[in-house]
């Protein structure tokens, strides 16, 4: 048996020697990063599939913002009659106003999780899915990306969940519209992902906690 001291020495050496990659092509990587991070300067020739994605993202963004703002305005109590400022002398912003700013995004997240949970539960049930699932998954996938990039997902657990959902929804969105046998295999893979990653219970828990927090 290797002695403890030698084992520790090997681990110390691993810090410098284990998994050292070849020198990366940093220029090529930077060019790719520029294209992705600042896409407005992309040329049409290199932006394969971008117009479709951009349209999808724009539609999802409009939906998300619209739903969020709509629900936010609907939930706000009617304005109270104006109070003379000089009478109270207190110019601080009421706490409820600050809290309201976060609510549209939280509600959108909650709605999104609810819709996703419903879709995943349908998939988990026996029987082949219909084509409508792929359309719904595509829409939810775009919303996932928006939420991943939003400040609402600074919570590590929610962020991890969204990344898992991104993977699952991408698989659903890519389901073949014809060919029952292939469809069956793809579904098996998706269901296996759902079980492996414990996705549905996590979505349900997150949706319930967000809903409880909001209402």
């Amino acid at each position: 048996m290797i002695d403890e001291e030698r084992f520790e020495q090997m681990l110390d050496r691993a810090r410098d020697e284990y998994g050292v990659p070849r020198e990366p092509d940093t220029e090529a990587m930077w060019r790719a990063i520029e294209r992705e991070a600042w896409p407005r300067q992309r040329t049409f020739a290199t932006a394969r599939g971008v117009s479709r994605t951009a349209a999808l993202l724009a539609a999802a963004a409009t939906l998300v913002i619209g739903v969020g703002v709509g629900r936010w305005s609907a939930a706000r109590p009617p304005l109270a009659p104006a109070q003379p400022v000089a009478a109270s002398g207190d110019t601080r912003t009421p706490v409820t106003e600050v809290a309201d700013v976060r609510k549209p995004l939280e509600r959108t997240t909650s709605d999104y999780l609810g819709q996703t949970a419903a879709l995943l539960q349908q998939l988990e049930a026996p029987g082949a899915p219909k084509g409508a699932y792929t359309a719904q998954a595509t829409t939810l996938l775009a919303t996932t990306r928006l939420l991943l990039d939003s400040p609402a997902t600074s919570d590590t657990r929610l962020h991890g969940l969204l990344e898992d959902l991104e993977l699952v929804l991408a698989q659903i969105a890519a389901l073949p519209t014809s060919g029952a046998a292939k469809n069956h295999e793809e579904l098996k893979a998706i269901r296996s992902t759902l079980v492996d990653r414990d996705v549905v219970p996590r979505v349900q828990t997150a949706a319930v906690s967000l809903a409880a927090f909001e209402y």
Binding site: M1, I2, R6, F7, M10, L11, R13, A14, R15, E17, Y18, G19, V20, P21, R22, P24, D25, T26, M29, W30, A32, I33, E34, E36, A37, W38, D149, P151, S154, T156, R157, H159, G160, E163, E166, L167, A189, T193
Partner: protein, 189 residues
Amino acid sequence: MTDVARISATSAGADERWLIAQARQGDRGAARRLYDDHVRRVHRLVYRICGDEELAHDLTQDTFVRAFGQLDAFRGEAAFGTWLHRIAVSVALNGLRKVRRLRDRERPMDDSSELYAAPERHAEPDLRDRLYAAIGALPEALRVTFVLYHVEGYSHVEIGQMLGIAEGTSKARVFEARGRLREALADFQ
């Protein structure tokens, strides 16, 4: 730390904060400098997680794209490098799972294949090769936690934040990984 080193570190930190502020406003040159300062470390970290040069290349790009897209969310509570590495770990793990899943689906019968390539063995493999091969053969959760702790030098608290696990879970995983590695090297005198 000497005074000169301390002043130098403070100056570097201030410089980085300025670069981040500039990059947030869309200054591509500032973003490039942040990239140049961190790309090798991020690339090495990602490679150590996924063990594949080409994949590490792609995932390093994804890390920076994600980081520049979320720069407004960086509040400076941790060092920029730590924040960036958290993103890198998350991107690498997700990328690794996606690729592994795709490969598993392409080769459903080959359930023993690991994406992580063990280091090349010499005709007479020495202890180091055996150890590195054994690290590469650890299950993903153990391997990643072990690499972050023993190779990258992160604390259990930092690893917990990166992987979304409790500090105690990180400790338990490292303990388990060490046990398995010692077992793999049991026949070495």
